[in-house]
């Protein structure tokens, strides 16, 4: 008998376990945009008041100032730095953040205009060739990306390798990551954020602050293996 057969035989030999209905009484946020994952919906004790992200089903009107404030509070708590700008000021704001940075790596689909005010070297992944680990390990290099969704309640940026975020390598090897977040990408809590992902089978990375460890007497130290510095630029939508 193979290991697989034996494990399955043992699992099926147990007296049938009664089926379980999963209650979903927690706050799932605005649900209309997509079908519920499984199970019957809420037993009614979901506190509607915490759901401030998105006032309609599509979540496009999610730029409630309290939501952005919450996101900023959480990001700063994780020692990320946060700056704000409006769409017209984006290029200038980015150039400001990259003031002392000689070169930046960017994903293939990063909008060209974003770096129009930046005087340094721009290395675009895949143009003409994919960037290597050695390219990305260059001292002083920063990487600029967008994101897929941001979760205010937890201060989390979600990257799903969309064309303005690129391969996982890009946001991992350089010491300095600058992430641009549009206010319409911000949602209140985790359930809504996961539902917004276009395709969960793409590689997905959740980033909450820069790399950190608490292994030594539980003192938080930023910057172990991932980027030591995380800058978030919030663009009014």
């Amino acid at each position: 008998m193979t290991a697989r057969e034996e494990i399955m035989r043992r699992l099926r030999a147990v007296r049938p376990i009664p089926p379980v209905t999963v209650p979903r009484g927690y706050d799932r946020g605005p649900i209309a945009a997509g079908p519920a994952p499984t199970g019957p919906a809420a037993d009614g004790n979901a506190p509607a008041t915490t759901t401030s992200g998105g006032t309609d089903a599509s979540g496009t009107d999610a730029s409630a100032p309290e939501l952005i404030e919450l996101l900023v509070d959480r990001l700063v708590d994780y020692r990320a730095t946060v700056t704000h700008c409006d769409p017209a000021g984006l290029a200038r704001a980015l150039a400001g953040l990259l003031d002392d940075v000689p070169a930046v790596a960017v994903p293939p689909g990063l909008p060209g205009g974003w770096l129009s005010a930046y005087p340094g070297t721009v290395r675009r992944d895949g143009a003409p060739r994919p960037l290597t680990v050695t390219d990305l390990d260059e001292p002083g290099l920063a990487v600029v990306t967008g994101c897929a969704v941001a979760v205010a309640e937890t201060g989390t940026l979600i990257l799903d390798t969309g064309t303005d975020q690129g391969r996982r390598l890009l946001t991992l090897v350089p010491d300095h990551h600058i992430c641009v977040v549009r206010t319409d990408q911000v949602v209140d809590r985790v359930p809504e954020a996961l539902r917004r992902l276009a395709d969960p089978t793409r590689p997905v990375t959740l980033v909450s602050g820069p790399s950190a460890t608490s292994d030594i007497e539980l003192n938080r130290v930023e910057g172990v293996h991932g980027p030591r510095r995380l800058d978030v630029l919030i663009v009014a939508g």
Partner: protein, 481 residues
């Protein structure tokens, strides 16, 4: 087919605990650390108005997984295979180690980088790889400390919790290849920097990485790793080959179910709203990350544990370690006393079920608790640990009926006394007389040592002395004032 590997206590718990109790440095390191995480956890849990509802859902999702496990495993295997991963199965620790060793050998490398994972510790993978001539480099800072010190982890989340910064500095200075000793202070930032330098070259050159997984999604074949330092991302992204060792109970039915666990786990574990990095990947992705992906699904006593209707709830565990941090017994004795990779309250119920109670000293583990219930309160998936402890104690007593054993003798005497009211009253009076000399000692109302077989109890804790007067005596004498 019971579990094997690093889940067998070699020494009875009271004996192992005694050694640790004699170490005041250990106790103060532990006390400080567990109380810090505990306070942080309470704070961030308090921020979520729907915390209880999340716990209830988390427990039910895991129970649903256990109920439908064979079907969900089928589904997971099909989805992961379709996404380009190769799925392997292992009955126990030896078989799992053999599968991984073979897979590493096929790549022709003799060094692998590793993400901290309970499953690989459970099966003793590092030792097995070393025996096969393959070096396994732990890349989590705490695991690295433990590995360099040639020690065993003592906590699920912070395996080096028993060391303070001075001790860690000395371990690095002595054992870390190429470290600049003169510049190495005991500042946590300096120590983290030393680890970063030491590991950077390994990450950038490694061809094979080994991970566990916090969750495996049946619907999509996705694996999820939750971490802080970025060492996980390095291992999951840079090498050509990734081998993930996953316990069969790690499944979640759908991707959407992560919305519950990504809220429960970080808050319960590190007391953060979210851990710095979470990675999710499904098989292989063109041009991004490892192009060879293996998943080893491990039983190692999980089917055995699932067969017990009361005990199976232990398989809901998401290894957050909250129960360790609130346990008064763990706080005093530390993780090593439990003799297995699963320490604390969860270890006390998980290890003896996975291996069967008669493996090593695992039968003593269900007694490593005061049954105070703090672990149940803290557990994000509502595992009723005290209930399972009592169940396992009972099972232990039943299984050894007819054979003399410490607990059988103690319980037998107890039930003979308790069956009859006069006998009970007489025993109490006798206990009071017996207790009189003890009262003359340092503490007025606690006993430090009882004769065998009760010494097993007082060896690790003080027992209250019987009251000077019973309620019945007080009631009877009340009128005479």
């Amino acid at each position: 087919m019971t579990g094997t590997g690093n889940i067998v206590a070699r020494q009875p718990f009271p004996q192992a605990a005694k050694v640790r109790l004699a170490d005041p440095q250990l106790r103060s390191n532990l006390r400080r650390a567990t109380h810090t995480i505990r306070d942080k956890r309470l704070r961030v849990v308090g921020e979520l108005p729907d915390w209880e509802a999340l716990r209830v859902s988390g427990a039910a999702i895991k129970d649903d997984v256990l109920a439908r496990l064979p079907d969900l495993l089928d589904q997971f295997e099909a989805a992961a295979t379709a996404a380009g991963a190769t799925v392997h199965w292992a009955r126990d620790a030896e078989e799992a180690c053999a599968v991984v060793t073979r897979l590493v050998r096929q790549t022709g490398t003799d060094e692998v980088v590793k993400i901290k994972s309970m499953a690989t510790q459970e099966i003793g993978l590092n030792e097995a790889l070393e025996a096969a001539g393959i070096a396994a480099v732990e890349t989590d800072l705490a695991e690295l400390i433990v590995q360099l010190a040639d020690d065993q982890p003592s906590h699920i989340l912070v395996p080096a919790i028993h060391y303070n910064r001075r001790q860690i500095r000395d371990i690095f200075a002595e054992r870390m290849p190429g470290v600049d000793v003169s510049a190495l202070t005991d500042e946590p930032a300096a120590l983290a920097e030393a680890a970063r330098r030491h590991l950077r070259a390994k990450f950038l050159s490694a061809r094979v990485a080994i991970s566990g997984a916090n969750f495996a999604i049946a619907e999509t074949g996705t694996l999820v790793v939750v971490e802080s330092e970025g060492n996980g991302r390095m291992c999951l992204t840079l090498p050509e080959t990734l081998i993930s060792v996953v316990g069969i109970e790690k499944l979640l039915p759908t991707f959407g179910d992560l919305e519950v666990f990504l809220q429960l786990l970080p808050r319960s574990s590190t007391g953060e709203r979210m851990n710095p990095y979470t990675s999710m990947w499904t098989g292989v992705s063109d041009g991004d990350g490892p192009q060879q992906m293996h998943i080893v699904l491990v039983d190692n006593g999980r089917t055995e544990t699932r067969a017990d209707p009361v005990g199976r709830q232990a398989l809901r565990c998401i290894r957050c370690s909250a129960c360790l941090n609130v346990c008064p017994v763990y706080e005093r004795v530390g993780g090593h006393a439990y003799g297995s990779v699963y320490p604390g309250p969860i270890g006390a119920i998980l290890s003896p079920q996975m291996t069967g109670p008669d493996a090593g000293a695992n039968r003593t583990l269900p007694y490593a608790s005061t049954l105070c219930g703090a672990c149940f309160e803290a557990c994000p998936v509502r595992i009723d640990i005290p209930e399972v402890l009592v169940h396992l104690r009972q099972r232990g007593v039943d299984a050894h009926r007819g054979r003399p054993s410490a607990e059988r003798t103690a319980m037998g005497a107890m039930s003979w006394v308790m069956r009859d009211r006069r006998r009970y009253a007489a025993a109490l009076r006798a206990a009071r007389r017996g207790a009189a000399p003890l009262r003359l000692g340092g503490r007025r109302d606690h006993v430090r040592h009882l004769p065998w077989p009760l010494s097993g109890w007082t060896g690790t804790r003080d027992a209250p002395l019987p009251a000077a007067q019973t309620f019945r005596e007080w009631w009877a004498g009340r009128g005479r004032g």
